[in-house]
Every structure is written in structure tokens, then in C-alpha cells.
Amino acid sequence: MIPYQVIITVKLGFKSLKLHKLRSVLTMLGIIFGVCSVIAMLAIGEGASFEAQEAIKRLGSNNILIRSLKPPEQSRQQTSGGGRGGQIKYGLTYDDGARLQATIPGVVRVLPMRIIRENVRFQRSEVPCQIIGTLPFYPEVTGASVVRGRFLAHFDEEHKENVCVITTGLARRLFPFQDPLEHAVRIDAFYYRVVGIVQERSQPEQRSQSGKMEGQPLDNNVYIPLNASRTRFGDVLIRRSAGSFEAEEVQLHQVTVQMRDLAAVETADPQVKTLLSRFHDQNDYEVIVPLQLLRQAEQTKRIFNIVLGSIAAISLLVGGIGIMNIMLATVTERTREIGVRRALGAKKSDVMMQFLVETVVLAVGGGLIGVIVGVTVPLVVSQLTTMKTIVTLWSVLLAFGISGAVGIVFGLYPAKSAAELDPIEALRHE
């Protein structure tokens, strides 16, 4: 058939379907729901996994994070028999950091952090913050970027300088009118001069829900030299809880090990765990490998896609059977028309093509409506909720292609049976 005949045949398909509008729409419903659910669910799944992956990537896929954990009550080591409710000692030590740096192959840097919760004051404002004592290469490891001024320098570290770097969010909150640089903020009893403003890799403010992902620093952060933190705050921290004091000795709250590349992360992961277990006889730390989380997220997404694909396949199958059923009825109903067409010169192949095209028009029409609804639903969902949705082009093309294929597969049998009708019998049909 030349393209012109195809166009006429497609138009004919539309005309035949328009003759029974309601029936055609009802027949398409199966495909509409199938295609719509594929696209909408893929968009929601894609959005969720995108968010998870972003959150993980923020941790740095080349990094291994080790975080101090307060061990469970029973297994605590009492370090001092002191009378003050008890002082516990746990977590990562400076030695751990040094050992990791020295023994793990492929390590680029080991970034220690002390994280202390304390209020930060400037003039009359006061903001609860995380005071993070760390080393000058913090930005290189975590991907934070210096927006203004500078980050902490080796000089500050050596001299335990009373300087600090604050995050953009804190700068906005503490210094709504002044320029934070060259002002000093008060933490506890000490004043720290602000020398720079940093932007964390993500903007946790905007996605505070997912931003709290595993140890992700909140936006109210103040960075001070590690040595300054050690000398100003000491290693023993007092925590007031339920009317009693609890003192705990923690040297480092987190150590981020930056590896050379992804391959090095894989080999280093068990080595880090083994090394730490040698020197910790209680379970007072956790190792987080963002790369593995990423892999897991991808794996989860794959499984999600398979489940989704099966649901979609079933609904499209049901839709296809619905179409086939109606087309078989149509062929019976239009037996006379088939006979007439055959008498007027239609070959078997012409009749076949006519009904096949009609089925494909039905299926692809349903697919088209399904695509439109399927693209709209995620838009509405992301408008009404905080859920992120991503409609990928391939999911639209896939859904569309499948609906066309459903049309062909389920149209073949009815079309074939139409073509095989005996013209005389067909003409005699009531």
C-alpha cells in the first residue's frame, strides 16, 4: 500500500470508531489506564530515586563516613568511677583518624570533625548551631564551596585561632543587616571572628525533609579549627538530660575518609571496618558508605521498575484483550460491510489492513490519552505534595510504543478472521 492509501485507511479507522464513540472510548479505557499508570508511576519512582540519589551523592560517593555512636546502655564502659551520674567514653579517636590515614590504601584525606551543639550569638540574636571543629580541607572533602572570604587555614589550626566560617543560612539569620565578615560571633564564652561564608553542597533549607539524610550537616553550621574546638570545649562534654547531668567523652564525632576513586572505596570498605573493630571493643561507631547506599538505591529502583513493569504489562494485556474482544465483535457486526468491500475489489490483505489499522488507531489513541493523563498526574502530584516527580522521555515513548504493539498483536487475530471471511457468506450475513 502506498502512503496515500494508508492515510485513507487510518481516516477510515477513525470514521468507523466514531460511529460508536462510547464503545470506542470504553474499549480504550484499558490502554488509557495502563499507559497512564506506567508513566505516572515511573515518574513518581524516578523522582523518589532521584531525591534519594541526590541525598546520597551529597555525602560524596568517593567518601566513607564513620560516625561515633553512643553504644547501647548495657555495654557502656565506665571510664571513671566518679560520682557525677557517670561519665561514658565512646566514639572515634584522634588515633583512629591517624591509623586510617596511615593504613588504608587509596586514602586521599582523612577529615576529622567534632560536632558540638551550642548556641551562637551575635548582638541580640541567638541561633542554635552545630559547632564543627574540623581541618582546612573540609571543602575539598565534602564539596562545600566558599562563597565569601576564605575557609579555615593551616595557620588557624596551628595557632588555635578564634576564627570561624559560617554557612550561608546562618549568615542570613545572624546578620540580616551587617556584613558578617570581620564581625565576631560569641559561642559559649569565646568570640570567634568570621572569616568566610560557605555554601554546603546542597541546600538543606529547601529540602529539609530529605536533607536530614544521615548525618547531613544542617544549614546552621559554624566551622572552627579542630584544635580550637579541642582546647575551648575539651574532650568531655556535659549533657543535661532529664534533670541529671551526663558527661561523655568523645574525641571525634565523625571522620570522613576521602578515597582516590570509586574502586578504592570498594576495597577500602572492609578494610576500614576491620581496622576499626580491632581498636574498638564496643559498638560505638557506624560506617556509612554512600557508594553502597547509591548502589542499593539503584537496585531498589530496578526492582521497583520491574514490579511496575509487570503491573503495566498486565494492565496493557487486559487492555489488549479488551480491544481484541471488541474487534472480534466488530468484525461479526460488520461482516456485511466486509463482504461488500470484497465485492468492490478489496483483497484479503486490504480487509486485513483495514481492521488492523482500526485496532492500532484504537490502541494508540488510548495510548495518547494515557500519555496526556500520565504526564498530568505527576505534575499535579508534585504540585500538591512535596514529592518530586520526573517524567522521562523514554517512559513516554515506551508507553506509546507498547500501546501500538498491543494494537498490532491483539488486532492481528480479528483482522485475520475478517480477511478470511468468504465474500459470499459475508454478503449473505444479516
Partner: protein, 259 residues
């Protein structure tokens, strides 16, 4: 004129001798095997020649083989035995596709129940045979409009069959049967579903076509319809019982078919 079987050895010679015989049927048989013992000979050896421009009415009792005959003439069916030459071409052994082609190019059908296609308009119904010939419908649109005017439906081009009366529908069917400029028009009881007045009008139209040179073969039970034909072929039990010419010079001449 007696149409006696010719010398079987000289079929091609006979085609050359009488090129006016657009239909030549020789010892045509159609047998339906319904069971071991049950064999129906719907056509039991029919010889027939129809000249170009003639108007033939086929009559006969029910079950005598008229429809079977017309189906074979219309290339909708193939004979069990015998041969059928249409315009000098042996169509009795053609493939299904080739028969479709012959139907589309050389034969026009008019049915008792009009058989228009419901989802198409008047003009589109007229175009259907051209579509299956692979023609670009835009180039032949004007001609189709002319045909619609010829049958008196020039102002109903975009109407649907359901919006037309029976007589109007049959007129559309007549226009459709003419669109491929066929060798002959086959009509199976074309006035059977119409009241006498519209039936007469339709018959008038068919007669008019014949006067314009179209070959027409129609099956009818109605003597008034048959009265318009030049020739009446009466069938009985799958054979031609009577073959009567009613043209001016041979009117009333009875011619026994079997030699």
C-alpha cells in the same frame, strides 16, 4: 440465436471470432459436497454467452441456481468445473487476489439491500472501488460527483446512508457500480426491497444505463422488471431451461437451450 457449445479444441479461436461475447461460459458446474451422500449440483453444466451491451434477466424458481450463477459471473465464487471467460480472460482458475482485482476493475455490483457502507458519505461510498484500485481519490473526485448527479443525488454528497431513503440508497449503489467503468453490471433483485414507484424509478435508471451501452445482468422474480430486458434466461435445477430474446427483431422467439 442458439448458443451451442463450440468445438472444445478452438476456444481461443472462438474468442477471436466473436469478440463481442464479453461473457462466455462453457459447461460450467458448481457442486457443493455436504456429506458422503449429499451432493448438491447448484449448477449442472451451463453454457452461456452474453454480448456486450445486452440486458439479460435471469429468472427461475428458488433454488434453481440463479444466485450461484451470479456469484460466479461476479467472480465472487469459482466454478467446480467448466470455464468462464470474461472479456477474453479465463477467470475460472484465478487466485483470490486476482479475482478481487477483476471485481474491482471489470464488474459493478448492485445488491438487493443496497449494501452501502454506513460510516461513509454518499460520495465516499461511490469512491470505494477506486480506492481498492489504488487510485488517488482526489483526481477522480469530479467524476464521482458527476455520477452522483447522474443518479440524481448531486445535492446529497455528504449525506450518510442512514439519512437516505431506500430508493436514494439504491441510486448511490448504482453510481458506485459505475465508477470503475465496468464491463458489466450485475444486479441481484435490485428492486426487491423497494416500493413499486421507487422500484420503477431505479429500473428506469438501469434501463437508461443499458441504453448508454452498459451490459447488464440482473436476477429478478418480477416480470415487470424482466420485461425491460432484451433477453430472459430461465433456470431450473442448475440448468438453463429457457433462453428468450426480446429484442425488436427476435422478440418472442423461444430458444431451447440444450441442443
Amino acid at each position: 440465436m442458439v448458443e451451442a457449445p463450440r468445438n472444445p479444441g478452438s476456444t481461443s479461436a472462438s474468442a477471436a471470432v466473436d469478440s463481442r461475447g464479453i461473457i462466455r461460459i462453457e459447461r460450467l458446474e458448481k457442486t457443493y459436497v455436504l456429506g458422503e451422500e449429499n451432493i448438491v449440483r447448484a449448477l449442472a453444466g451451463v453454457d452461456l454467452r452474453i454480448e456486450q451491451g445486452s440486458f439479460v434477466a435471469i429468472m427461475g424458481p428458488s433454488g434453481s441456481g440463479k444466485s450461484t450463477m451470479l456469484n460466479i459471473l461476479g467472480c465472487l465464487d469459482r466454478p467446480t468445473a467448466g470455464s468462464y471467460f470474461l472479456g477474453g480472460e479465463d477467470v475460472s482458475r484465478m487466485s483470490d487476489d486476482a479475482l478481487s482485482e477483476v471485481r474491482g476493475r471489470r464488474i459493478g455490483f448492485i445488491f438487493q439491500s443496497y449494501n452501502l457502507i454506513a460510516q461513509l458519505t454518499v460520495i465516499e461510498n461511490i469512491q470505494v472501488p477506486l480506492f481498492y484500485r489504488g487510485q488517488d481519490l482526489r483526481t477522480s473526485y469530479d467524476r464521482c460527483v458527476e455520477l452522483a448527479k447522474l443518479v440524481g443525488l448531486g445535492d446529497r454528497l455528504t449525506h450518510r446512508p442512514t439519512q437516505l431513503s431506500g430508493g436514494q440508497q439504491q441510486r448511490v449503489a448504482i453510481a458506485r457500480s459505475l465508477v470503475n467503468d465496468p464491463l458489466m453490471i450485475l444486479a441481484d433483485e435490485p428492486t426487491g426491497n423497494l416500493d413499486s414507484r421507487t422500484g420503477a424509478e431505479v429500473l428506469e435508471l438501469i434501463t437508461h444505463l443499458n441504453q448508454g451501452g452498459k451490459t447488464i445482468v440482473l436476477v429478478t422474480h418480477d416480470d415487470k422488471v424482466a420485461a425491460r430486458a432484451h433477453r430472459i434466461v430461465r433456470m431450473k435445477d442448475g440448468r438453463i431451461d429457457q433462453d428468450i430474446y426480446r429484442t425488436a427483431e427476435t422478440a418472442g422467439l423461444r430458444q431451447p437451450e440444450r441442443p
